[in-house]
């Protein structure tokens, strides 16, 4: 088991929910965005044309692992299908969701590892973590990305 509790640490047994959005299973994984060569606008995940100037000159950009929490809430009920984390209220645990500003590059919307409003603060430092999400029928562990408060915060 690694520091994030991913038991399929022999990573052949684990798979990311989406492989194109981050560099996991590399060490210290980063989210993969794209940057416009013409106007500098940054997106996540990557896309072919710029959402600001509409130009085609987008190149891959690895995003900073750390950021600050710009906005947050909690998801207190089971999202409808195709939510992959289990479809019933039984066993569902409220999860945090936030808008995280990564450096001065871009803001990304993502799950948070913390779900307690008392422990979440606007402007708090957070960092990218890959965390267990659910286990498929064949035993494959599905990993998702989330932001967790940096030690010493909260």
């Amino acid at each position: 088991m690694d520091e994030n509790g991913i038991s399929g640490y022999v990573r052949g047994m684990a798979r990311a929910l989406a492989t194109e959005v981050s560099t996991w299973p590399d060490e210290d994984p980063q989210l993969i965005g794209s940057r416009c060569g013409a106007c500098g606008a940054t997106t996540w995940p990557k896309q072919d044309h710029c959402p600001r100037c509409s130009g085609p000159d987008m190149t891959e950009l690895l995003l900073p692992r750390r950021g600050t929490l710009v906005a947050w809430t909690t998801q207190g009920f089971v999202p409808k299908l195709p939510y992959a984390g289990g479809g019933t209220a039984e066993g569902f645990e409220t999860f945090g969701v936030g808008l995280v500003q990564l450096g001065d590059v871009v803001r990304v919307e993502a799950r948070l590892t913390e779900n307690d409003p008392a422990k979440l603060r606007f402007g708090m430092d957070v960092e990218l973590a890959m965390v267990p999400f659910y286990v498929e029928d064949d035993g494959t562990e599905i990993i998702t990305w989330a932001f967790r408060p940096v030690a010493g915060e909260g």
Partner: protein, 381 residues
């Protein structure tokens, strides 16, 4: 260009109607609007129909009369009814026809809206990961707004309580029982700081509006209500809106700000001229935020305005006099037309127990929804 007048409004109550189809509700709303306008279906020269669940709103002609009129079906998420209103009004404004009808119908399954994320240009993982939930965006926006502008969670409860109270005065509303502020605060937290009773719910209903060229409106009514403007705007780069994987660091304002500004300019009036207001209260936070985005107050003033009862039916800036979405629910295709229905009733002085005081002359309606689309509509006597 022609002026456009609303000469008839009709509403099928909003709520849950097991065994009744969306089309049947639409036909009822059409008959109510025709009766209100004093015209026959045969007088209607064209139609525009909006729905999310019904693929062909024009099929309602099977129930009301197969007259062969041109009929355009529209869908624009929560702005669907605003789009129907705009297309109907502009067709008359541009002189193609003299009398038209805009209708909206819907009958949603229970629970929060969902869809295939691909239909909103989103990756599949956005839904699988649990982010494809409109309410969590509203929770985030409300949480940040009340933090930044010093608004209390108790004020959000005040907004919801007002709308339930207004709904109790509205025979067409879904929720007709007042709910105490403490019960609203004590209901389960769905998306912090928003609790269950601070949210509207998808439901069922229909609405129809008959419009005509302004210069012939006197043939049908002694009190025409003029549709001065309906403006629709989508999100700009920089705005963080519902259903987004990312947002730029440099912020832009919400499309509601642009739509409202454009509507006021087109109508030649300002927020200070408005006597009765309809805002998209998907949740209590949205109503608070939209008050400022539409131009009715500065950010943060809502705390005092709500404490003073300013947005109550008898206040100086009544908001959601019919209970809004919180008390009526949201049948997407009909919701914006319900707003117009309420404004027309108020401007004519026909709103009964929920009639605002004085002699209201200007009404304003705003909707907002996925994926960051807003509209603003202005009606005047």
């Amino acid at each position: 260009m022609n002026d456009v007048a609303v000469i008839g409004v009709g509403l099928h109550p909003f709520g849950r109607f097991d065994g009744k189809s969306a089309m049947e509700m639409g036909a009822d709303a059409i008959h109510a609007a025709l009766a209100d306008a004093g015209v026959r279906w045969q007088d209607v020269q064209f139609g525009v129909g909006g729905s999310y669940e019904v693929s062909n709103p024009d099929a309602v002609t099977r129930l009301v009369g197969l007259t062969g009129i041109p009929f355009t079906n529209v869908f624009n998420a929560c702005a669907t009814a605003a789009t129907a209103t705009q297309v109907c009004a502009d067709t008359i404004r541009l002189g193609k026809y003299d009398i038209g009808i805009a209708i909206g119908i819907d009958k949603h399954p229970r629970g929060a809206f969902t869809d295939d994320p691909a239909k909103l240009a989103l990756p599949a993982w956005y839904a699988e990961n649990g982010q494809f939930v409109t309410t969590k965006f509203f929770g985030m926006k409300a949480n940040r707004y009340i933090h930044d502008h010093g608004i209390s969670q108790a004020t959000l409860a005040k907004v919801a309580a007002k709308n339930f109270r207004n709904g109790s005065l509205n025979p067409n509303a879904f929720r007709r029982k007042p709910i105490a502020e403490e019960d609203i605060l004590a209901s389960p937290v769905l998306n912090y700081p928003l609790t269950q009773y601070m949210f509207c719910a998808p439901d069922e209903g229909a609405a129809a509006i008959v419009m005509c060229r302004g210069d012939i409106a006197h043939r049908y009514t002694s009190k025409p209500v003029f549709l001065q403007a309906t403006e629709i705007r989508t999100r700009r780069y920089g705005a963080y809106e519902v259903h987004a994987t990312f947002a730029p660091v440099e912020e832009d304002v919400s499309p509601t700000v642009y739509a409202s500004k454009a509507a006021f300019e087109a109508a030649g009036v300002g927020p200070e001229d408005v006597d009765v207001i309809q805002l998209q209260d998907t949740d209590a936070g949205a109503e608070v935020i939209h008050m400022a985005e539409a131009g009715f107050c500065a950010d943060g003033e809502q705390e005092q305005l709500l404490a003073d009862g300013a947005t109550e039916i008898d206040g100086p800036m009544p908001v959601n006099t019919d209970g809004g979405l919180i008390a009526n629910g949201e049948p997407i295709g009909a919701s914006g037309l319900r707003q117009v229905h309420e404004l027309v009733r108020q401007l004519r002085g026909e709103a009964g127990d929920r009639q605002v005081g004085g002699s209201p002359r200007v009404g304003f309606a705003q909707v907002y929804g996925a994926p960051g689309t807003a509209s603003a509509t202005i009606l005047t006597l």
